[in-house]
Symmetry: D2
Subunit: 319 residues, 4 copies
Amino acid sequence: MQSTIRSFDLAHLAHVEILTPKPDESLNFFVNVMGMTETARKGESVYLRGWDDYEHHTLKLTAAKAPGMGHFAFRTTSPEALANRVAIIERGGTGKGWTDGDLGHGPAYAFDTPDGHHMEIYYETEWYKAPPDLKPSLKNQAMRFPGRGANVRRLDHLNLLTSDVVALQRFMEDTLGMRTTEMIKLDSGAIAGVWVTCNNKTYDVAFTADHYGARGRFHHATWAVDSKEEVLRAADICLENGIFIETGPHKHGVQQTFFLYVYEPGGNRIEFDSAGARLMLAPDWQPIVWTETERKKGQAWGLKTVETFHTYGTPPVEK
Amino acid sequence: MQSTIRSFDLAHLAHVEILTPKPDESLNFFVNVMGMTETARKGESVYLRGWDDYEHHTLKLTAAKAPGMGHFAFRTTSPEALANRVAIIERGGTGKGWTDGDLGHGPAYAFDTPDGHHMEIYYETEWYKAPPDLKPSLKNQAMRFPGRGANVRRLDHLNLLTSDVVALQRFMEDTLGMRTTEMIKLDSGAIAGVWVTCNNKTYDVAFTADHYGARGRFHHATWAVDSKEEVLRAADICLENGIFIETGPHKHGVQQTFFLYVYEPGGNRIEFDSAGARLMLAPDWQPIVWTETERKKGQAWGLKTVETFHTYGTPPVEK
Amino acid sequence: MQSTIRSFDLAHLAHVEILTPKPDESLNFFVNVMGMTETARKGESVYLRGWDDYEHHTLKLTAAKAPGMGHFAFRTTSPEALANRVAIIERGGTGKGWTDGDLGHGPAYAFDTPDGHHMEIYYETEWYKAPPDLKPSLKNQAMRFPGRGANVRRLDHLNLLTSDVVALQRFMEDTLGMRTTEMIKLDSGAIAGVWVTCNNKTYDVAFTADHYGARGRFHHATWAVDSKEEVLRAADICLENGIFIETGPHKHGVQQTFFLYVYEPGGNRIEFDSAGARLMLAPDWQPIVWTETERKKGQAWGLKTVETFHTYGTPPVEK
Amino acid sequence: MQSTIRSFDLAHLAHVEILTPKPDESLNFFVNVMGMTETARKGESVYLRGWDDYEHHTLKLTAAKAPGMGHFAFRTTSPEALANRVAIIERGGTGKGWTDGDLGHGPAYAFDTPDGHHMEIYYETEWYKAPPDLKPSLKNQAMRFPGRGANVRRLDHLNLLTSDVVALQRFMEDTLGMRTTEMIKLDSGAIAGVWVTCNNKTYDVAFTADHYGARGRFHHATWAVDSKEEVLRAADICLENGIFIETGPHKHGVQQTFFLYVYEPGGNRIEFDSAGARLMLAPDWQPIVWTETERKKGQAWGLKTVETFHTYGTPPVEK
């Protein structure tokens, strides 16, 4: 049974770096299809944000030879929380040391998950200040509503593939202090997928077993819109822009997320979601464990899960 | 400037006790218009819940001579957090002592706000177990979706009237460890309204100056639905059931809540809301301060605030 | 090319009689899942309606040994239009003669489609008058919004299976004066499906080739809700009630209908749909012809059409 | 009682010419806030369309000294219907003769309403053919979904002010063959407003008494979006763009239209609406007559009608 003594050191998923072999096409997708806004450019990277993301960026889009994830970062709840987590990570042996930070945030501590995904945590950040032409009419909003493409509001969560689900779960829980909210347990006893959170969202990160047993791969990143209607419209917009829709819109049984999965031009899977009023407010939430039989029912309303959803990740595996 | 060292002792608003001089009509409203489900009855009270509230109840509806709020309660994040807050409250002098609890939760510590609103905090709770006919199809949901009336999902927040906004804000922040997310400051310097939270919801409790200078009155309680469409439908359902609609549906500038305010038959103001993907994830959120000029613009899309919204509360004031 | 001289004799699809071997379970589905309201009972039939259907009923649910469609009926735009169409039908040779009408409507002329589906047309009808407890608050609405289940608003369209698509299309166009709005033409030149209308809805009836070459079978009947959100909610409600969801919610490429297909307990396929602001206002609309290649892309957002959608109809075919 | 013998000569409201003293600002509004697309320019006019309008344009935006309506036009159901109506109009004495047509349509017959509004009717039209970059993915859609601003789909209706409601109603019914679906009758017996249609939409044109007794003025024109959610989003977009919101979003009691009224920069009132699945399919629909008492209840959910809604029209009246 999961301890009810939870850690409050991590505040939230802060940003993800996505690697793309087609930087121009990918940028066009994130700006005109997703409706994100460019904040800055530096080197091979463009920094982007949803209209209500409060930090400098939630996406760092970096040109690379192959698609995949560069790194992802969490913000901590305080400088003390940062120091506390760094100490724990260092004891665990996957720490890589401090960086000077990046555009938009201060010093970050870099480390790897046991599976080799690159992570960072930091506290100091730059609150986004909208330039005059992007000032919102309501001052409790980070930026003006763009009225462009799918108008994604904020980063929601990240999904990883891993060669060892249990090791990654242990790392997320013990080293980072996150809580498991839902998981899939096969008849063999193997854990096939885990959803963890550090706040009242029902998950910030999910990870499932890599079909190929590969290490450190990326499944998808998700930005949230305000309503299911907007997810449906996002599907129309993807269709009109020639963006490959892998599956959806539909509702997951796990987490009840209303989802739409597409591949951005660089090859990475991106999700639009909308979760309604669902939050995990209980401090002693016990993980929901889905069985193999339950998973065979398909998604919430019966949609069969497409095969690629189980196998495709970035970078692609040489077969 | 608000400290960035936040307390994590309170988990969330847990339930509210609403007093009604018309218990049958009020019960019919909460069951058939709101779509809540009765969990239990005891004495003069009926206990009710939204379909995804995880505890025994979020509403205790109690027959009384006049409308108003009996008490409201927060759940803490742990037994230690409960003990910690009780100690602080007792030092503050408004503590009233332990109760044996109530249907659905364990020992609670009772106290008053400086304005005389009755509050309780507790940790031990009874997770709701749906009887067979109310079992949900998806096991990560507390109860079957009712398909009745407005189908409210969960308790969202509470709004109080107070004779002293600043004193109540200080109590909420210093004694209970909540954070102010938004507030209204008049040209005179007076604080007219404050919104506070203890989690990632942008508010659990709001309070505004009592027009009559009365103490301890109740403004409204709010249950959330999943979408703005459902708030609009709730308005249709209220219309069909002869429920007085005070104002809305419309969008507040403050907190950007999509609201609908009605008076339940007992005379208490009840709100249906839907907040979309908006959350307060930043650990160092600085309070948004709205000016008198900004408030004069009306609600987000220009709706003039109806006079009763500023004056009416329960119990009504003898004028 | 389709003539621009359109007939205005038929007004709209009026009702459908559905046969069920499980009358109690089917009635429970239509009342509590669909949210329809019973108007009357007579013999083995129960008459039901959506909350904004203006006639006595749009569904006649009749107990029978096997599922299927009893008959379906159109209302004409005037008594003269009725007489005109009867004359044309009689010349065509599939007329069966006048009936005295049924509960809710006056004399009807009965006939068969070339494929043997039973049809009726009539003009005289009984406008629904809601009893006191079902009176709507707004007088331009047929009945009070029920706030029950999926709350279907009105009958939308009907879908038939046919052994001869072209013959049925010719009958619908030439004998009944309907217009083809969309159709599917295979590479072989065969017409696989046709959508026809007699008004500004983009279709009242659709028909596709029967996989088994059977005659006179029924594919589905559809009631409309007001929004896509409500179609999504209908899926939740079906899930909670153990109703089999065949496919959807998703958007058809053909007609862009936002659909959800389920099987009612008696075995008939029923659809919930929502079409948004789409209407066919053009008097000279030319049929959209979809090719086999286009159809292979699946539904609008890429969903593969489930096999049963092509094969299953009622009554089931003995294989 | 209204005859059940309806005319089918007019097909639908085709386009409206709006006059603006601020052509650049108005154009920016229609393109970037409404999400319309420019089809052509000629002289002082820009021609625009919603993404699913099937004709060349539904808005002709013309620079002028004062705001107002230049003319509005209906398309007929056939050349014969056009000839028939022209004959009737000419007998009525307000005919002005044939024009050569305009960009996008053939010869039109020009005439005035009894109140002096300029009207035209025509049959020959140019079906819109999207250029390559605006080609839709689904061939049953006129143009690619823009993903810009409020994304209005199609022209919905027009609202006029008139010095003589009854005379205009008689003209619409007797001369143009339209049907009254709803109307407002004051206690004095005076008709204050009338809604008429020529198809299954519940209205194409509405007209109310001009507060100043002026002749031929314009109240508003309306473009439809697919859902109420999109009307709400349109309000956000207007807010962000500094567009004056007069009233809404809310639901009218009359016609149950979900509305949002704004003033475009040139001073004309524009509405965004969404009507859900509501259609008038009955061939013998009897006009709904709203009383003064009923109207005093405000809009459907109780919103008080703002004063300007009763008084403001274009061109403004010199007071």
